[in-house]
Every structure is written in structure tokens, then in C-alpha cells.
């Protein structure tokens, strides 16, 4: 039934990761409502959801830029993306 969607394990893991992150945010929101809004270093008022969005968007650009400008392997952009995600949840 799902053969037309052409699932692969790497892409499935990507979506499992994103949905897990959203799930964690939902649990955090139920425990501590209000989204933990604060004004970060970029001068933006962000909630947890905003920070996840900025992390993921930044990650996609880090990988795309690396692929376009440098190429394989992708360990460096992976490290950069993790650092970017930590920075987003910590400071942005």
C-alpha cells in the first residue's frame, strides 16, 4: 500500500527524528505551558517551537551549502548542525 511512497530507512529516520522532536515539545508544553518565550541574541522573541524551526531550517541550509560548495563526506556539516541546534535552544 505504501510502496508508491518509496520509503527508505534514512528518510524514515529523518521524519521519525522530526516528529519525535515535535512530540518532545508537546510534552514540554503540557508540563510547562507558555512555550518558554524569551528574547534571544538575534533580537527575536522565540518560543521552543520557533527555536526548533530555526534549528531545522538552519540545518537544511548548512547541509545544502556543504553539499554544493564542498561535497561528501558530511561529518563536518553534521557537527555544525548539532552546534547550531544547541546554540538555537541555548541563546536564540
Amino acid at each position: 500500500m505504501l510502496s508508491w511512497m518509496a520509503w527508505t530507512w534514512p528518510t524514515a529516520l529523518l521524519f521519525i527524528g522530526i516528529f519525535t522532536a515535535i512530540g518532545v515539545l508537546i510534552i514540554a508544553e503540557i508540563r510547562h505551558p507558555g512555550g518558554a518565550a524569551r528574547k534571544g541574541v538575534l533580537g527575536l522573541t522565540t518560543t521552543r517551537g520557533d527555536r526548533l524551526f530555526i534549528s531545522l531550517l538552519g540545518t537544511s541550509y548548512i547541509f545544502l551549502a556543504w553539499l554544493g560548495l564542498v561535497g561528501m563526506p558530511l561529518w563536518w556539516p553534521l557537527g555544525l548542525s548539532i552546534a547550531w541546534g544547541i546554540f538555537c535552544f541555548w541563546k536564540v
Binding site: A6, F15, G43, L57, L64, G68
Partner: protein, 287 residues
């Protein structure tokens, strides 16, 4: 005592289901396609990130992206000021209000493909009203089927004709919501027309203008039907915008993998620009 409940989530569920079916599931499929190669029959071969690398380094993609940004930039820089100017000069009350509103709304009611066909016939050099007039009465050499500049002028004019109304109607809605007291106060202070516009009308229109510019950005960045019907991406590749190129790769060449990778890059660009724009326009309201 509990001051909030979670009932609202149930009202969001239908939307969530709808979005899942028309956006999320197709989107996940595109992600799956973007890392594989297929020759049909639902048989797929793992390809890794090769397609992304290929698209990101292809001159063809860079050219289409450049044309896309140029098109969006041109129509925004024309439609937004023009839309505001028309909204400012429309009457606020009386008989002419509904007349103006209906006239303004008309172009938006016409389906995209019809707009493309209309402008195609309208601008053809030998039989079109405008094309014939320009070539045979004014003596201007204008042929959008041969000359890239004429093709560009035509698609930009067509989009301005089709969508300036959206900016007009939204700006107008913002304008009529300004209470008279503001204008009276400005008059007492002896404010100039420019000051009234800059400090009363523009701030009041800001929210609707944000929406108007966002909608125009996204629509024009994803535009397909009108230029496809009007010029088909030609002459040569001169009006091949991103979506036209994407459809060529996906359906013309049946390269689903590269097309999927390209549409994800395309999506990332739209998402980033929309987010940046929205964040910058609403930043002042937050603080």
C-alpha cells in the same frame, strides 16, 4: 483553578488531517524520491545525496533561480507601490466604492490558465490587439515569441495586471479601518499629505501589507501556469522560471529523483525568505 482547557485541539484536528493528506504525505514522498532513482513501476534504487549535489552545482538551476528572483523582485517592486497608490486614490464612501471594488476584483476571478491564454492572444504581434497596435500602428518592434526582453515585459505586465488588485484590496481594507479621528487630529496639527501617509496610513496598513507582500512573494515565486501558457518558458530559456524548469525535469524528462531534490531546495528557499520576511515585518510588534 484551571484557567485553560485543551478542547481547542479538537477543532484543529480536521485541518491537521487535511494538511497531512495534501501536504505532509506528498512532501514525505518527495523526500523519499529525492534520494533514489526510478525507471517507473515503483522500483527504486538508492542514490544518496547525489541529486542534491548535482542540482546545487548545475548552471541550469542557477540560471532558473536567478530568473525566478528577478521576476519576483520586479513584480513586488511594481505591485506593492502601485497597489498602495490605487488604494489611496479610491473613494472611501459613496456610490463609486462598490464599482471600484468589483472592477478591482475582476482580474483575480479569472483562472490562471485563462489569464495566460488571454495575454498570449492579446500580445501576439500579428493578430493580438496590443501586439498589432505596437507593431503596426506605433511601429515598435515587439514580439514576445522571439525577443526575450519583450517576453519579460509581457509576463511582468501580465502578473501586474492579474495581482495588483490583491495588494489594492488588502491596502484598502487597512485604509478604511482608520477612524476619522486620526485624520481630524492630523488636520489640526497641520500635517502634510506625506506626513498623514507616513505616520497614520502606512502604520495602519502594515499588517495587511505584510500579508499582501508575503502572499505575492510566495505566489510569484511558485508561479507556473501563466508564464507556461504565455511563453512556455521561451524564447529559448529566457522565461523558464523555477517551476517551469521543475516540471520539465519531472514530467518532461521523467527524472523524478533530481526533480524531487530540486523541489526540496526550492521549498527551502521559499520557506527561508517567507520566514525572514515575516519575522522582520512583525519584529516591532513583538517588542
Amino acid at each position: 483553578m484551571k484557567t485553560e482547557n485543551q478542547k481547542a485541539w479538537f477543532f484543529v484536528l480536521p485541518v491537521l488531517a487535511l494538511v497531512a493528506f495534501n501536504a505532509l504525505i506528498p512532501m514525505m514522498t518527495v523526500v523519499n524520491y529525492s534520494v533514489q532513482e526510478t525507471f517507473g513501476d515503483n522500483v527504486f534504487f538508492w542514490q544518496g545525496l547525489d541529486w542534491f549535489q548535482q542540482i546545487l552545482r548545475s548552471d541550469r538551476f542557477h540560471a532558473a533561480l536567478g530568473r525566478q528572483f528577478l521576476f519576483t523582485f520586479l513584480i513586488l517592486i511594481i505591485e506593492v507601490p502601485l497597489g498602495i497608490a490605487i488604494a489611496l486614490s479610491m473613494p472611501r464612501k459613496g456610490f463609486w466604492v462598490p464599482v471600484c471594488l468589483v472592477l478591482m476584483a475582476l482580474p483575480m476571478l479569472i483562472p490562471w490558465n485563462v489569464v495566460g491564454a488571454m495575454w498570449n492572444i492579446f500580445t501576439l504581434p500579428d493578430i493580438g490587439l496590443l501586439g498589432y497596435f505596437l507593431n503596426h500602428v506605433l511601429g515598435i518592434n515587439y514580439d514576445m515569441t522571439q525577443d526575450p526582453v519583450a517576453a519579460w515585459v509581457t509576463i511582468v505586465t501580465m502578473d501586474v495586471w492579474h495581482w495588483t488588485s490583491l495588494v489594492v484590496l488588502l491596502s484598502y481594507a487597512g485604509l478604511v479601518s482608520i477612524p476619522d479621528a486620526y485624520y481630524q487630529a492630523a488636520k489640526i496639527d497641520g500635517a502634510t499629505n506625506w506626513a498623514v501617509f507616513r505616520f497614520i496610513q502606512l502604520p495602519k496598513m502594515k499588517t495587511v501589507l505584510t500579508i499582501a507582500i508575503l502572499l505575492r512573494f510566495m505566489d510569484s515565486f511558485n508561479i507556473y501556469t501563466e508564464p507556461f501558457v504565455l511563453t512556455g518558458g521561451g524564447p529559448g530559456n529566457s522565461t523558464t522560471l523555477l517551476s517551469i524548469d521543475l516540471v520539465k525535469i519531472a514530467l518532461g524528462q521523467f527524472d523524478l529523483g533530481p526533480a524531487a531534490a530540486m523541489s526540496l531546495i526550492y521549498f527551502a528557499i521559499t520557506l527561508l525568505v517567507s520566514w525572514l520576511f515575516y519575522t522582520l515585518m512583525t519584529k516591532d510588534d513583538q517588542n
